[in-house]
């Protein structure tokens, strides 16, 4: 990962190395999982020769003439059509929310939400690529990539997103995805629910499967305050002065639970899965559950 950083920018390289230093244990842990899980799932897929070739099939009427493989057809009396694998193969598209609300870290948390999301996605990408999947970044890549090169590219991009102070959108972008693609969306999903629901529904309408990872800071989950406080949003939502936080906490928690219920409900309706993570917990837990959900889909 670090090797891809531009040598001319020492600061970026430094950050990259810092990130890389944090990642190996995760990758090692992911390797361990891969060793136990992926063998049964993906072993048969490796029987093919090339990366793109999948199979020949008989020409049916209606198929365009351009796709006839003449060399194969010449071997027999029948016409054969060559079908490339990548069209049909599953690809996983990753997206994480890099908006201002994700660039937040309370004193109780180990890292920013956004950082944690990037880390989890990178680890997931590593796992997927080791398993032979194709991985791309939603909204960024035109085509998913595979192999170590793709992983390095994703790592560099994620890392760049950590460093840059962009006001990124808090909703996943709309992109035309291949059928049977899978989407992993990591965000806090704290944007107005209607927008969240619409953007997810838009993706789901393309027929892709998806997984939602909600990353929240512990203070967002627990609201561990007392007394009088003046709350401020990070995306210009406004301010709110609360006289007695204790009195509000239960209502807040109810709302948060309702949000999660909405998320899970939405996922159930469209056949996606949903995972919750808080940044004061170790990332491995979330990675495992995310990977488990994804692996089920891939089978």
């Amino acid at each position: 990962m670090a090797t891809l950083a531009t040598p001319a920018d020492p600061r970026l390289r430094q950050r990259a190395e810092g990130l890389a230093a944090g990642l190996p244990p995760l990758l090692v842990a992911a390797d361990r999982i891969a060793a136990t899980v992926t063998q049964g799932v993906h072993g048969r897929r490796r029987t093919g020769v090339g990366e793109s070739f999948w199979q020949f099939r008989r020409y049916h009427s209606g198929d365009p003439a351009q796709i006839i493989d003449w060399r194969q057809s010449a071997k027999s009396q029948k016409l054969f059509v060559r079908e490339n694998e990548w069209d049909a193969a599953e690809s996983v598209w990753l997206w994480h929310d890099a908006s201002a609300s994700m660039r937040f870290r309370s004193t109780a948390a180990e890292s920013q939400k956004h950082e944690r999301a990037a880390l989890l996605l990178l680890a997931l990408a590593s796992l997927l690529i080791r398993a032979g999947e194709r991985v791309g970044r939603l909204g960024e890549d035109r085509r998913p990539g595979s192999g170590r090169v793709a992983l390095n590219r994703i790592a560099a991009a994620l890392q760049a997103s950590l460093v840059e102070r962009l006001s990124a959108p808090s909703l996943p972008p709309a992109q035309v995805l291949p059928r049977h693609a899978q989407v992993v969306l990591a965000s806090d999903f704290l944007a107005p629910w209607a927008e969240v629901e619409a953007s997810i529904a838009r993706l789901a309408a393309q027929g892709v499967h998806g997984h939602l990872l909600q990353v929240l800071d512990p203070i967002e989950v627990d609201l561990p305050f007392r007394g009088r406080a003046r709350f401020e949003g990070v995306e210009g939502e406004g301010v709110l002065t609360v006289g007695r936080i204790e009195g509000l906490r239960q209502a807040y928690l109810d709302r948060l639970a309702a949000l999660r219920d909405s998320l899970t409900g939405l996922c159930r309706r469209i056949g996606w899965t949903c995972t919750f993570h808080r940044t004061d917990r170790p990332p491995q837990l979330a990675l495992l559950s995310l990977y488990g959900a994804l692996a089920r889909e891939i089978v």
Binding site: E220, V234, G238, G243, A251, R255
Partner: protein, 932 residues
């Protein structure tokens, strides 16, 4: 309690005074009434909310806010702020501690200073007050008048100065010094009558606290000028006076009276000192409650008393607390004149003068001279030994001298017996009388008795004094009354007669031993002492002689050169002369015959100042003067404000103060106050683990802590130095050594335990014995080092059985341990070849034999569990962090230290690697190196 000060100026604000505390802006104190309002405001105003950034704030919008602010300002913060407000208000009211006439205004100041002796002992406080007054006059541009009530040094009248500019006035105030004579308030009042001022002034009277009878008059005069502020010494600090003691009273002690005016605080001591300040005697002065006069008795031998020149009260630096003592109190001058001729000079031990001098010298000052010369100096007593006829002129002078108070003592002798003049108390028969002797039947007579009325009253007649010759008195009616001592047969031995103010005494025997052996007895001395005390004191040859001033006391009671205005005093008037500028207290006369004029001779009593009719503001000289409390209060208020800021920051969560509740804060304070206990409680479990981790994470050597810091430090440094040497020369890399306590620590982690045996080694507990046994059984090696190979005579060699205290202690330890038989290290022992080839094992000392197990068991890989030596190896190995040796080796040489290191390396290798060197595999190579 408080009283409103008189206003000096109509425009000046009033000053409110509460005891020593005054407020310059008292109406600002009304602000204190606002405190309840502040209380109420603080209670209803909630603390500023803390700011919390919350990305999920959307979830909060629209939630019903059930309760708004039961959140109250915490009580402690409330109190803090109230205190802050109260301090600020008090500070603005401008409080002053010990205020000094703070009345503002332009009115001139009239400063009246009592600068007599009574002011001297507390002059520093007065001077500070004077400086403050001067500073204020300069600051407020107020002209001032100065009136010092004591007559000036140059002996002018007491006058007030003209109206001085502030800076002039300040300089004059600062130049004031106390005078060694009393203040004259009557003269001061008279001087004031001559002062004409247009405006009213402010009067500051720096009084000395004593009333001389004219204080009220002066106050009345002062009240004409303006409001009076009177400064006085606080209670218990008024001046004291020491009265001159009675001159040469009976007994040996000096009885001294000390006067006071009002109650005193603290204890006072009288001090009697000789020339040069040498202390002769010291006595406490104790007043009866309510009494103004106390007497102290200074008890000291006569000869010491004769050296006394100065009597003073300790801690009272004033001329009134000093009494100078002259010859009136000292041993009296006695003149001796012997009538014997040339034969006396030939045999001085038989001379009259010899016996007289020896008897008189202990308690009097004896002059031996011609009669004319003797009479020229002041004498208390004159002794004429066997002087028959005096020339008429001298007889006349003598008579006058006696009339003036002299004591003339005559001794009989052949000349007096032959022709006596009339200067004898009784008429004498011509010729002497011999008692006893070869031609007489009578025996020498003894002294029968001393007369009850005479000066010898109470003396015990000596048993061993005999009189063999005497002159006899003509019988007369008065003879019996004049006889002060008589012999056993009733004849007078000493007769005396009063003449004028003096005495005439006759001893009917000689002053030497030819007529009697009285001169050899103690009674002779005692009788002469009584006679010396008989007189009035020094009697001058001529009355009215002028005595020039010799030394003068200053106001603080220090002797110095005579004051410029001092004049000579006639000797007969000295006693009645009061102290003044012309006649300052001190010594007069010549250095040889000096007379003292004491200030307190005229003092009969001290009285405190009366309460005056006029309205007078009383103030006290403060030790530290006026103090402006405003800056202090403001400082405290600012500190409190900072604390408040911190508290608010803490409440809002900016500072990491998790629970800003008073209980929590108090608890935190308590915890802060006793961190030791908290730490101590958590230590035991952590300590054992930490010890084990430290001991096991790296290979370490260990030493036994003996409890003697020096030995322990040497052990540590020794193993450190050895470790460095091992690191340099071998592949063994040892971490820093650890000290272990065999009573407490687990030993099993260490391959080698270095144990310096000390004399103070305590007996080991059973647990420690068990632990040591286990350690040795499981492969540990203990190196005992008694460190005393140098104490054994050279050549004898240190043996296990011999040695000093350390060896004895070692035996006590070994007795309880399970030790196999020991032998001196055999020649082929592994210790001799584990790394280096060597046969002797020097440390700091050489010669000590090293003992190991005779047949090492197999369990420890053949390593002896015990190595015992006496060479103080640790000291030889010891280095500091830079590798410099800490201790010299004996007898010395780099070779010895090198050998010591080699032994240490062998020892560590031996304990770490066991017996592989014992294998025969290496024998050929070793033999080859040995050149065999």
């Amino acid at each position: 309690m408080g009283r409103w000060r008189e206003r000096s100026c109509s425009s000046a604000p009033p000053v409110w005074q509460l005891g020593p505390l005054a407020f310059l802006n008292p109406w600002l104190l009304l602000g204190l009434f606002s405190l309840p309002v502040i209380w109420w405001l603080l209670r209803v105003t909630p603390p500023a909310p803390r700011r919390i950034t919350l990305p999920s704030i959307r979830l909060l919008f629209g939630l019903p806010q059930t309760e708004e602010t039961p959140a109250k300002t915490p009580l402690w913060l409330l109190l803090l702020r109230l205190l802050l407000a109260a301090l600020a208000i008090l500070a603005l009211a401008h409080p002053l501690w010990n205020p000094i006439g703070r009345e503002a205004g332009e009115a001139p100041l009239l400063v009246v200073v009592d600068d007599g002796w009574a002011a001297a002992s507390r002059w520093a406080e007065r001077q500070q007050t004077l400086a403050e007054i001067g500073d204020r006059a300069v600051r407020e541009r107020r002209p001032l008048l100065l009136l010092a009530t004591a007559p000036p040094l140059a002996d002018g009248p007491v006058t007030a100065t003209r109206l001085l500019t502030p800076s002039e006035g300040r300089a004059q105030l600062l130049a004031l010094q106390p005078k060694p004579w009393p203040s004259d308030r009557r003269a001061a009042a008279a001087a004031l009558a001559a002062v004409r001022l247009e405006d009213r002034v402010q009067v500051l009277w720096l009084a000395d606290g004593l009333d001389d009878g004219h204080a009220a008059g002066l106050a009345a005069e002062l009240a004409n000028f303006g409001p009076i502020t009177l400064f006085e010494d606080g209670g218990g600090r008024r001046p004291l006076a020491v009265l001159p003691p009675a001159e040469l009273s009976g007994g040996t002690g000096l009885r001294v009276a000390v006067l006071r005016a009002g109650a005193l605080s603290g204890e006072r001591w009288l001090r009697l000192s000789a020339d040069g300040g040498r202390l002769l005697a010291r006595a406490p002065v104790a007043w009866e409650p309510g009494a103004a006069r106390a007497e102290a008795v200074l008890d000291l031998p006569d000869d010491l008393r004769n050296e006394a020149v100065r009597l003073e009260l300790e801690g009272e630096a004033s001329a009134g607390a000093v009494v100078l003592l002259d010859e009136r109190w000292r041993r009296r001058p006695v003149g001796v004149l012997s009538g014997a001729g040339i034969e006396e000079r030939a045999q001085p031990l038989l001379s009259h003068a010899h016996y007289l001098l020896r008897a008189l010298e202990p308690f009097s000052q004896v002059h031996q001279d011609e009669l004319a010369a003797l009479l020229a100096r002041p004498l208390a007593m004159l002794v004429l030994a066997d002087v028959g006829q005096l020339p008429p002129a001298e007889r006349q002078r003598l008579t006058a001298w006696i009339e003036a108070g002299g004591v003339l003592v005559r001794f009989a002798g052949p000349k007096l017996a032959q022709n006596a003049d009339e200067l004898v108390p009784v008429a004498l028969r011509s010729g002497g009388r011999a008692l006893g002797g070869a031609m007489s039947w009578t025996t020498p007579a003894r002294i029968a008795s001393f007369a009850e009325e005479g000066p010898f009253a109470g003396l015990r007649p000596p048993d061993d004094v005999t009189v063999s010759s005497q002159v006899l008195a003509e019988p007369s009616l008065e003879l019996d009354g004049k006889t002060w001592a008589r012999l056993a047969d009733g004849t007078p031995l000493v007769t005396g007669e009063r003449r004028g103010r003096g005495w005439l005494v006759l001893f009917h025997i000689t002053a030497n031993t030819t007529w009697s052996n009285l001169a050899l007895s103690g009674s002779f001395v005692e009788m002469l002492r009584r006679l010396v005390a008989l007189g009035q004191g020094v009697s001058d040859g001529e009355a009215g002689r002028l005595l020039p001033p010799l030394l003068s006391l200053d106001g603080f009671g220090r002797l110095d050169r005579p004051l410029p205005a001092a004049l000579p005093i006639a000797s007969d008037k000295l006693l009645g002369t009061p102290a003044g500028p012309r006649t300052p207290p001190g010594f007069y006369g010549t250095q040889e015959a000096r007379r003292a004029l004491n200030l307190t001779t005229a003092v009969t009593g001290l009285a405190p100042l009366p309460r005056f009719d006029q309205p007078i503001a009383w103030a006290t000289y403060a030790e530290r003067g006026e103090r402006d409390l405003k800056p202090w209060l403001l400082t405290v208020a600012i500190v409190l404000a900072l604390l408040d800021l911190l508290a608010v920051l803490g409440l809002r969560g900016v500072l990491p103060l998790p629970a800003p509740r008073p209980a929590g804060a108090a608890l935190a304070l308590c915890l802060l106050a006793m961190p030791d206990r908290a730490a101590a409680q958590s230590r035991p479990t952590q300590g054992a683990d930490a010890f084990a981790l430290q001991a096991t994470l790296e290979t370490r050597l260990a030493y036994v802590q003996t409890g003697e810091a020096e030995v322990d430090e040497m052990s540590r440094a020794g193993l450190f130095g050895l470790g460095e040497m091992l690191r340099r020369r071998t592949s063994a890399e040892l971490a820093d050594p650890m000290g272990v306590d065999v009573e407490r620590d687990d030993l099993v982690f260490f391959p080698l335990l270095y144990w310096p045996v000390v004399a103070a080694q305590r007996a080991l507990s059973d647990a420690a014995i068990g632990r040591l046994g286990a350690y040795m059984r499981t492969g540990g090696t203990i190196v005992f080092d008694t460190r005393d190979a140098n104490t054994v005579a050279p050549g004898l060699g240190w043996e296990l059985g011999r040695g000093g205290v350390n060896a004895e202690k070692l035996r006590q330890i070994l007795r309880r341990l399970d030790i196999p038989p020991l032998v001196p290290v055999p020649q082929d022992h592994i210790l001799t070849k584990a790394f280096y080839l060597m046969q002797d094992f020097p440390g700091r000392h050489v010669g000590g034999r090293v003992w190991v197990e005779i047949r090492p068991g197999g369990v420890n890989d053949g390593v002896s569990a015990v190595v015992i030596g006496a060479n103080d190896w640790a000291a030889a190995w010891a280095t500091d962090a830079e590798g410099r040796p800490l201790a010299a080796v004996v007898p010395g040489g780099q070779r010895q230290r090198e050998q010591a290191y080699r032994f240490g390396i062998n020892l560590v290798m031996y304990t770490l690697t066991g017996n592989y060197k014992a294998d025969q595999v290496h024998v050929p190579a070793i033999l080859e190196r040995l050149g065999q």
